[in-house]
Subunit: 329 residues, 4 copies
Amino acid sequence: MLNIGLLGCGRIGQVHAGSLQRIDTARIAAVADAFPEAASALSARTGAAAVSADEIISSPDIDAVVIGTPTDTHFDLIDKSAKAGKAIFCEKPVDMSADRIRELITIVEAAGVPFLTGFNRRFDPGFASMKARIAAGEIGDVELVTILSRDPSPPPVSYVKSSGGLFRDMMIHDFDMARFLLGEEIVRVYATGSALVDPAIGEAGDVDTAVAVLATASGRICQISNSRRATYGYDQRAEVHGSLGLIKANNVPENNVEIASGAGFRSAPAQHFFLERYAGAYLAEMKHFIDCLTAGTSPSPGIRDGLAAQLIADAAAKSLETGVPVDLE
Amino acid sequence: MLNIGLLGCGRIGQVHAGSLQRIDTARIAAVADAFPEAASALSARTGAAAVSADEIISSPDIDAVVIGTPTDTHFDLIDKSAKAGKAIFCEKPVDMSADRIRELITIVEAAGVPFLTGFNRRFDPGFASMKARIAAGEIGDVELVTILSRDPSPPPVSYVKSSGGLFRDMMIHDFDMARFLLGEEIVRVYATGSALVDPAIGEAGDVDTAVAVLATASGRICQISNSRRATYGYDQRAEVHGSLGLIKANNVPENNVEIASGAGFRSAPAQHFFLERYAGAYLAEMKHFIDCLTAGTSPSPGIRDGLAAQLIADAAAKSLETGVPVDLE
Amino acid sequence: MLNIGLLGCGRIGQVHAGSLQRIDTARIAAVADAFPEAASALSARTGAAAVSADEIISSPDIDAVVIGTPTDTHFDLIDKSAKAGKAIFCEKPVDMSADRIRELITIVEAAGVPFLTGFNRRFDPGFASMKARIAAGEIGDVELVTILSRDPSPPPVSYVKSSGGLFRDMMIHDFDMARFLLGEEIVRVYATGSALVDPAIGEAGDVDTAVAVLATASGRICQISNSRRATYGYDQRAEVHGSLGLIKANNVPENNVEIASGAGFRSAPAQHFFLERYAGAYLAEMKHFIDCLTAGTSPSPGIRDGLAAQLIADAAAKSLETGVPVDLE
Amino acid sequence: MLNIGLLGCGRIGQVHAGSLQRIDTARIAAVADAFPEAASALSARTGAAAVSADEIISSPDIDAVVIGTPTDTHFDLIDKSAKAGKAIFCEKPVDMSADRIRELITIVEAAGVPFLTGFNRRFDPGFASMKARIAAGEIGDVELVTILSRDPSPPPVSYVKSSGGLFRDMMIHDFDMARFLLGEEIVRVYATGSALVDPAIGEAGDVDTAVAVLATASGRICQISNSRRATYGYDQRAEVHGSLGLIKANNVPENNVEIASGAGFRSAPAQHFFLERYAGAYLAEMKHFIDCLTAGTSPSPGIRDGLAAQLIADAAAKSLETGVPVDLE
């Protein structure tokens, strides 16, 4: 039975707590949050002790930490946890700065602690099955990847301003998915975008409608498109065109009811947003983390995957700014 | 090049004329209709001579007749055509009376002329492909057949009164489809129904909503349901459950466009009615007839299939009346 | 916080335990099972006390019992629990004998305790949404209901022998669904069936492939078909044809991945069996039970719904035996 | 009744002949081909006279010409036909050189003759319905367009060498579709590609897997991807994301049959190639041409649409070559 310390008791921390409660081989030993009420509330629901982050990290009884705090606190918590020998599950992005992620890689690898970067979509039953079937050769060689990703509605402009921009905040998930599905590193990025959903996002210096084209050394290509608004739910689709066929992961509807009338056949919208759509992914992700710790294997995606996606996001942001493609080393 | 005489220039006659114009190995040599204007109009469009039915049947230049006249004229036209040695394509139903169909079987078989009963649905690309795959063993042994069939809107009550009733007028197509898909003769029929769509249909002694359960000697079962009204187009579906799997023929939508909004995903209604839905079936049916004549093989479904469906319809009507299942000899 | 006593710690008892753990307003206070190991195991996983059924029923601390024991124990447990003033959630069937269910109705109604019959499918998100939309008038008047229900594989013949037969063991769910969707009582039942899946089932006096036709006083019709085997997963579909349109609840696939090759487009099988397909339904069902107890309202479906479905199953069994339709009082 | 002269009796000429035979208001008066046997064969099937192209163009009885000859003959035939006052339907591309198309625009507009450029996909029932619904405001403002287009198999390398390259030969259809769906002119093009399907295509200096990103002045974005090979049929999809919703035109399957087994649900491949997929589009396109001539209105897309698509293709080819986006004037 592994003892887990939960750092951050906000929305995503609560999701991870719910997952841990459904896993027999781990238990939430302690929870911490900068807002004591948040920690108390989660303590009450889970029976875990509400303590400080430092107490969790320094406790000899804690095997692993799950970090779901604001991004700007990640560096410090990872640094301390790694040095304390804790296994680490950290929400994406690991950090907004690629240089600082590089520093953390040095620290984490020196400490030799297991590290999972929270790219939850890799654990979605659809995307995971798609990846497994590509790996099994079902579509032959991967040639073209298409990823469509749209949020139900744009975040407040205040959030946008501190988000690092659409490429680092939203499309970063798709950059990780592109690497996951292409099976080869990205060498060139072209990106463009507009503020079509909310002019205030444009005034804040960001875009809300954007596309990217990624290419690998062997000539595989990935197209990504994002919009900050979709009236029909959280649109999360990917398809991979290969030499032997095509594989697609479609949206997950709210239910499987269909109604017909003179206006045609109507089925349910896509599940509303990430908490619904990726409920299964969050659970599978946590199970993977716990199973790796139990078995002594390395969780994946690791911290280097966190860096790789960040570097693509940086390149996309630069491409948008300069208007030309950007090469990755 | 086969010379075809078209008997009946109404709606279905025009469909058959259009099919014949697209077949290189046959030509419409002559057309006839009780209404001279109907024959003239089709003559103008096809270049075929407008003559009398008797002239067509007695002409030594005519190889085959296509009968699309009212049902009560079928007996006489088949009788004369068979005796004149013409190949015969006759619209369903061959006749409203099973006894008279038996008489015609004697005449047609004595004459040794090819005979095709116009159960057009067997030639629909979906149903034909389903049948071929069942025959190829793709779903193993056939166990349960489900047929759903709904017209877009009820016919006028005047039509209903002379139609022979829903089982002989509408469900007869499904009885033929049941035989086609079950691959075994029906031995027992239970049917029930109500007038839910239009009370005037009930007052006229008929039903507009009905179901039938058919069973074969080996215990295979078929369920059929009909409604005289479907707001979403012409509903024509069948599925067959077998020992190795299930095969379904879905509806054909008006187009393949899908639109998404907060209300969900909306796709097109089913094609409106039989002229649209079975356009391909009518062409394939005529090609089959012409190809059989050219090759000297027997068209199928033949006149005995016309009788078999009529006997099931008679049994269903009797079951509705008596409230109990009816055995077929 | 309601204290729940769980009677029966087998497969279904464990499902209900899992649901209760996810509901904040109730807790599992005690568990009981005829096999002490089963109770101990569930006690270990939930922290609830493992005691005897009688201790649960007589404990003043227990607010409600959840009965998931073998059917032949239901009568006694319901009788005692009702007399002890406990709210009752009992798995279907309430009892194999309609007469004994009538006795229980008298007892339960005299005791005035809330009673939920475990027809879990009513709580499936698809079927529940379908029902709500019918009730909201979206398809107008209900006319024709079609229910297709197929298990992935037949039970052992030993189970079949004591199951009460397909109509009471399997199709009873569909009879309840028919009542739920028709919104009107059934007055006549015709049923037929065969042993096509496994001859041993036929030798045991039962069928494994069966259909039923149900009719209401106003002429609404429902067709049900069952098979004990479906190679493509647990097939659970229903559709309702109404005066304004059609509503369907489709199967739930294992995932939403689609793969294309020269053989066409392939998507996932239906979810394997009831534990997967109805996971959401079991949770929603328990939430409904707990919410009703909290709010002081009556759970539904109640014990009279359990009787109604049993009477239809009895009538179907009699129809199969006699070959003719059976009227319900 | 309009008299049409058909220039070119190859595959596409035969398609247009078939369409004209189904249109009551026009007739094929004469056919011409550089290969006399081709003209004779089509003459035999249609009853039209087999003559020379010059005879058709100079005949006072001919109202319109349909040009389906090799691209390098278009200039001359359009030039002569326009000067002879004939209405013109010319297959795409009008010419491989944008400058020569500009010359033809001057000639055609000076002559004042109706001109239809054969971008057949605009007339596909799916794409046409999608465009109409966008124009009707059903999805609000257009923001993001995604076009996926894949041929079933690559052309011979000999063809590739003289094709003008993938962007001018294949993606040109998608460039026209992009303009059609975006409703705004393209101002910038980024394109990239690889030879992944057939290395010989790469050796011939072309690509077989390619993407393009198009942007309009107002910031609307279109992503296109092409592959010269799809194992599952002719993949022709487009979707438009707007402020109020999403609209998609899906592939058209070979039939609507679905088969289920332990491997899941399998449906038919997409229709094989353009002759099947766009059979309806070719007919609707010709009807549009004839209807415009009859009504005295201008056919659309016109010759300027032919130029616009060519300019985007030229820009895409240049972008592929230079590695950077290319601006259109």
